[in-house]
Symmetry: C2
Subunit: 238 residues, 2 copies
Amino acid sequence: MTFDEFKQVATLSMEEICHEIFAEKQASIKIKKEAVAVKNLANIFHAALTLSNERGFQSMSLRALSRTSGLSMGALYSYFTSKEELLEMIQNQGRRLTRKVLSRQIDPQSTPGAMLRDAIRAHLYLTEIMQKWFYFSYMETKNLDKNQQKKSMESELATEQVFVDILEQGLRQHVFHVTDPVLSASVIKAMLQDWDVKRWKYARRQISVDDYADFVIGFVESAILGRNPEPDLPNKSI
Amino acid sequence: MTFDEFKQVATLSMEEICHEIFAEKQASIKIKKEAVAVKNLANIFHAALTLSNERGFQSMSLRALSRTSGLSMGALYSYFTSKEELLEMIQNQGRRLTRKVLSRQIDPQSTPGAMLRDAIRAHLYLTEIMQKWFYFSYMETKNLDKNQQKKSMESELATEQVFVDILEQGLRQHVFHVTDPVLSASVIKAMLQDWDVKRWKYARRQISVDDYADFVIGFVESAILGRNPEPDLPNKSI
DNA sequence: AAAAATAGAGCGATCGTTCGTTTTTGTGTT
DNA sequence: AACACAAAAACGAACGATCGCTCTATTTTT
């Protein structure tokens, strides 16, 4: 799957999620008509992410959000009941999209090697499309309430588990040489996250998302395919 | 060098830095006596890091800082002229300590393999000791002014360069098999940073800093020592 | 004209910062 | 040892600005 194809899948999933949010939050959203609500919600989310990523969510005043989104203070409060609820809505929306898009990208029938490559690439593509959200989520998790923080951690562990599963499957088939699948998945995830958090560094060096994906795949494969030039050889790791 | 030895070196360097800060900032610090100034500065920095890491620096009110540090509002403003200057002082202090401690840890006379291991371990030990500061720096860089942001980026690139140099030396001596030293250094740094940022994850799994260091060293070595079981063999990589 | 959506002034709370006052400290004199 | 007295340090109430949020009036849509 190329980056452009991936983009289309994500866009479709995004629309689904806006419908879901509208359906669930009808208690706190005062807007009746879905078309209006979805359009303005997307607008508000985009403006909030842009402003938050400059100085942090707490520092973003609702007056600034009003200015950037083009909606009045009163209008904003037709879409959420408090600033904190807006924070939760944004976090929720991103988690949903992450789950939805990633689960569609990995074919459990293919080989562990192929699955690992697909998972790395899919993660990076997703981060690229949802850049603002990932950065936001990364920076603002600590400002959530206990319950939402727990959800955020579970989401992190769930994405990590995708890699743990792939690595363990590779271990069972004797194609990966991994001493600790959980820690390995952890450091792989750390590399992927760096693409979002240290974006300025890679932009300055003119490294594209595909460049980075190729490199990470190569690096990880060197680390876990083992030093044996015939990785197909079984019973080596016992 | 063990973790306990490392701790002592860092503590000594910390005292040096407090002297330096007092000497340089005498324009904005209204306190005359160094003993008083150093003691309270350390107190303020510690309180500010603790509070900031809960909800972010911007969300930390100076009244809360006053409460936690035990100093009154007026007293606080004897040590800095504005909240923003406090932010800059904290960032500066951490960057200094990082530079000072790390440069003393790596012996340029040893082999690339040993240097790489030492550098990884030293980085993780430093992160462990300065945990609050690193987390703070990670989260608050974007809130600095342009000039301070530039310094922060340079500091990041400088620490990365330590790894680039080691990798390139290993390349020249044909002991490392690295396709791109800069990207390799980048992902190594990402793994090290994860120890600080995702601290809750490793704490929950009861992984110590030495456990993590051993794992990262093993992972990186698997990746770059090449698949050749005789890594001493020269001219292989040409 | 009824319903839906938006507008924006106004409210109390809290923010960073200032400044006149009080307390503590260090030193020389009795 | 007790005191006086500046200098140094700490204190905390008060100020204007801005915050999140509300509420009624107005505009837009159906």
